[in-house]
């Protein structure tokens, strides 16, 4: 018997609303966690992109543009960036992916991974260019690239977690 069949329908529905929020909060916390591993603090992979990408492709209503905007503002406030920079990048990124969601949702995992990689690079380079422009200084690019590589490498892990949450949402909303 599958585990979801043992959970009462009420809890399934509650979980389907709570879990996506928990994953989002987890990704934000991971992005600001002080990890004392040499140099990690200075690259901080953009984990939030995995969350945005997955929901934009498979269930845009779970992560609407307003939530991407709110997440961006929270990140800007916590990180100390000019308010609006992250919000701009996250909403734009989500929009591009949603427009292509019908095509992307039918693709194999490897193709998804590749597109995610391109979107991550695009997102982080936009952030880098905007912040460099606003601060009128050349921000070192290497930590940005390393952060992207980490985020791309860890995409399968986030994809797996989000895929399970997605499955739970579908079961919860199919349950009479």
């Amino acid at each position: 018997m599958a585990i979801e069949q043992q959970i009462p329908a009420k809890w399934l529905i509650i979980s389907s609303y709570v879990l996506p929020v928990m994953v989002l909060v987890g990704a934000i916390l991971l992005s600001i966690m002080p990890v004392h591993v040499g140099g990690y603090d200075k690259i901080l992979p953009p984990f939030i992109y995995s969350v945005i990408y997955y929901w934009a492709v498979f269930r845009p209503k779970v992560f609407p543009a307003s939530l991407a905007f709110g997440t961006g503002i929270v990140m800007d406030l916590l990180v100390g960036l000019t308010v609006g920079v992250n919000a701009f990048v996250l909403v734009s990124m989500r929009w591009i992916i949603v427009v292509q969601s019908r095509f992307l949702s039918g693709q194999q995992f490897l193709a998804q991974w590749l597109v995610y990689g391109i979107m991550t690079l695009l997102g982080q380079f936009s952030l880098w260019a905007l912040y460099s422009l606003l601060s009128q200084a050349f921000i070192p690019l290497i930590p940005v690239v390393i952060g992207c590589v980490f985020s791309i490498a860890l995409f399968p892990l986030f994809y797996g977690i989000l895929h399970n949450v997605h499955r739970l949402i579908e079961i919860a909303h199919e349950t009479p």
Partner: protein, 307 residues
Amino acid sequence: MNHHSRRNTPKTVSWMYEPIMQLAERLSSAFLIAVSLILMVVSQIHPNLLSETRSLAYDAIAPVMATAVKPIYAVSNWVDHVTGISNLVSMNARLAEENAKLYKWYEKALQLEAENRSLRELVNLNDMGRKSFVSARVIADPGGPFVHSVIVWAGTRNGVKEGQSVLTGKGLVGRISETGSKASRVILLTDLNSRVPVVIERSRQRAIVAGDNNDKPKLIYLPDGASVERGDRLVTSGHGGIYIPGIPVAIVDEVVPGNEIRVRPLADLQRLEYVQIVDFGMRMPLADEEKTDPVYSGNGTSPVKAQ
């Protein structure tokens, strides 16, 4: 006829629903992108406009992060402990040698302290304010490649104020840039917006340690023909009124003739766990001075607000 139209109704609704939803999606995204751009321009022109909101965000995240970092610090300390065991013999020999050297310096320091005290009394030198401090735990390291800062779990309710110096046992870490009631943000020495007036201990020449988001900040505004050597120690000069004179800051790491000089902060900025926020009772520079003086001006996000 009626039957036919009734059968087609759901299809018609679906056919209409999808483009409407797509249009709504596009409009909301376009609207939010426009709002983001407006916010960006506004917060660039008035960096302090949203400082209250930032403080609220720090306060909101502080209790969560303070709990979340405990296991991370525990693992990190355990890793240090395990890796430390393998180096125990060599470390012991090094420490014994270092201890012998330090003992000589201790004797010298006592002698100099007594001499310093008597000379201060002789010239009736005004002391640089009272000193009080708060120890605080680092609970978040949110900047990544863009902003070099940390959030500490101490705020206005603990007496923390903007502009106060943040130190570890080894040297200067940075300064408080924003305060909430429970948590505050510390701009690190390496951040793009950090400028620390220093003096080279050996030659007493003044300069500025300027962060540029590299692990090793630059040493700028050094007088022509100044003598700088690799290994020179830099301490705060006290100019500008943010830091008191004599706080150890960095040592010169790279000197490229005719090119830039890079320094290495004495405090280990990558492994900050606890810091000391020190109130030296210094007067903060005026807001206008801050905006125009290259020593204090920051191009970016959150310059220190004058009190």
